[in-house]
């Protein structure tokens, strides 16, 4: 497997998943997409047991993901912002990847792509989440060739509460008085520029790995 996609989004077949998959498909290479919410992984415990052998001593599903990361040449990591910063599952992944950092920098020179999907529409948190993934990758010596931010759906659209909610995010995004409705949903496939960028980055991965 040459290209590995990792999604921190827990939502089934989410916009985040599909945006990562767009990049992966465009590579035309053998790939795998891993969804962190399907694995039992935990935050780093800062025990530094990995300092000498680069192997985390926590016994959980991290080791399955770790083996996949070791095998790949390009890594596409996607997350989403919660309260304005990268979600905790993707954050966990970055922390556990720290075991590969010490002395040898095991991921140095790999190709990296940072993907984030957030509520967008002028709210900067999605770019912040993508930047956070990219900054992490750079600290790991990964060659970040692209960052992609896509727009997803605020939870207030799908929460199901029909009544007036004083803390709804819908008016913030769609204007005063706006209420949840089906036409406000967006799918990543409808965002032409985002899909184009994902395709371009996928092709670039292919060029770099094949040539």
């Amino acid at each position: 497997m040459q290209v590995l996609g990792i999604s921190g989004s827990p939502v089934l077949n989410s916009n985040t998943d599909r945006l990562i998959k767009t990049v992966l498909d465009a590579t035309g290479l053998e790939y795998e997409l891993v969804k962190l919410s399907e694995y039992d992984i935990h935050p780093c415990r800062a025990c530094l047991g990995c300092a000498n052998d680069n192997i985390c001593k926590q016994q959980d599903d991290w080791h399955i993901i770790e083996n996949k990361i070791k095998e790949c040449d390009a890594l596409v990591i996607g997350g989403y912002p919660t309260y304005g910063t990268l979600d905790s599952r993707t954050k966990m992944l970055t922390e556990r990847m720290y075991s590969m950092h010490h002395q040898k920098m095991l991921n140095k020179g790999k190709i990296g792509v940072a993907v984030a999907v957030g509520i967008g529409r002028g709210i900067p948190s999605v770019d912040h989440a993508a930047d956070q993934i990219a900054a992490f990758m750079e600290m790991e010596g990964i060659n970040v060739i692209g960052k992609i931010s896509g727009t997803g759906n605020i939870t207030c659209l799908s929460c199901g509460y029909g009544g007036p909610c004083g803390i709804s995010g819908v008016p913030m995004l769609f204007g005063a008085g706006a209420i949840p409705s089906k036409d406000k949903y967006t799918a990543i496939e409808d965002q032409k520029e985002v899909i184009e960028k994902a395709n371009e980055i996928g092709c670039k991965i292919r060029e770099m790995l094949v040539n």
């Binding site: 800062a46 919660t82 599952r89 750079e138 600290m139 803390i167």
Partner: protein
């Protein structure tokens, strides 16, 4: 007054823990301290089952911790800084507080204080925690940061490793000045032949950095605890006055 302290630092007896406990002590209130790495509070699964009940359906320690949050008048939350952001322990806990937000904003009106400890970027972490708790309707009474022990001081090979934390946050690597060298002047000497990610060369002037040795940091924690106490007493007094007028 009830105050709870929640630490997202996984290190035993960490600087983060010390500062949270100092704040708790200075409130003079009934306090409890919880360490997220000792219990299990996983990430939000975005199932939205909490919309009407404001109760998360995940069966882990958030079940009782959320009750502690609801019983508390004030919350002190602290995190270590990993990769320029709050620890995943802290992040997961704050995500789970979202269950209490829907429609009713159950945490609204509580007082809060934030603490972040790190080598660099800890001010971003304390600011983020304040924003997130503020979105839950809490009033941030105080926030503070402190410099901690870089993990590269204790891993065993930090002086010669090419990739220590001061190199990861260096101007050469990030294009930003996090001021690590300056703020660790008494603890770390980065030698002239050090080249980030190519050649590591440093000398340690201390084995660790403890907030217990920094009176001004401890004083700031006490000040925040006192501010929580004053704020709570004032709000109680105001509420009492309003009651009399009725």
């Amino acid at each position: 007054m009830k105050v709870i302290g929640i630490s997202g630092s996984p290190t035993a007896d960490s600087n983060t823990d010390t500062l949270i406990k100092k704040i708790l002590d200075a409130t003079g209130a009934e306090t409890e301290f919880f360490k997220l790495s000792d219990i299990k509070v996983g990430p939000c699964i975005a199932c939205m089952k909490c919309v009407y009940t404001n109760e998360c359906i995940l069966n882990d320690d958030f079940k009782w911790l959320s009750k502690k949050v609801m019983e508390a008048d004030a919350i002190v939350i602290g995190s270590s800084t990993f990769y320029g952001a709050a620890s995943a322990f802290t992040k997961a806990f704050i995500e789970r507080l979202y269950s209490m937000r829907h429609i009713k904003l159950l945490t609204g009106g509580k007082l809060a204080a934030t603490v972040a400890v790190g080598v660099a970027a800890e001010s971003m972490v304390t600011e983020w925690m304040g924003n997130a708790l503020g979105a839950g309707g809490m009033e941030i009474v105080g926030s503070m940061t402190a410099k901690g022990t870089p993990c590269c001081f204790v891993c065993g090979i930090g002086e010669s490793c090419h990739y220590p934390v001061w190199n990861a946050y260096s101007q050469e690597m990030t294009g930003m000045n996090f001021g690590v060298e300056e703020s660790y002047r008494e603890f770390l000497e980065i030698l002239p032949d050090n080249k980030p990610y190519e050649h590591g060369s440093a000398r340690f002037l201390a084995e660790y950095r403890s907030v217990k040795d920094e009176p001004e940091v401890l004083a700031e924690a006490r000040k925040i605890g006192q501010a929580l106490k004053d704020k709570f007493e004032n709000s109680k007094k105001t509420a009492g006055d309003q009651k009399c007028k009725c």
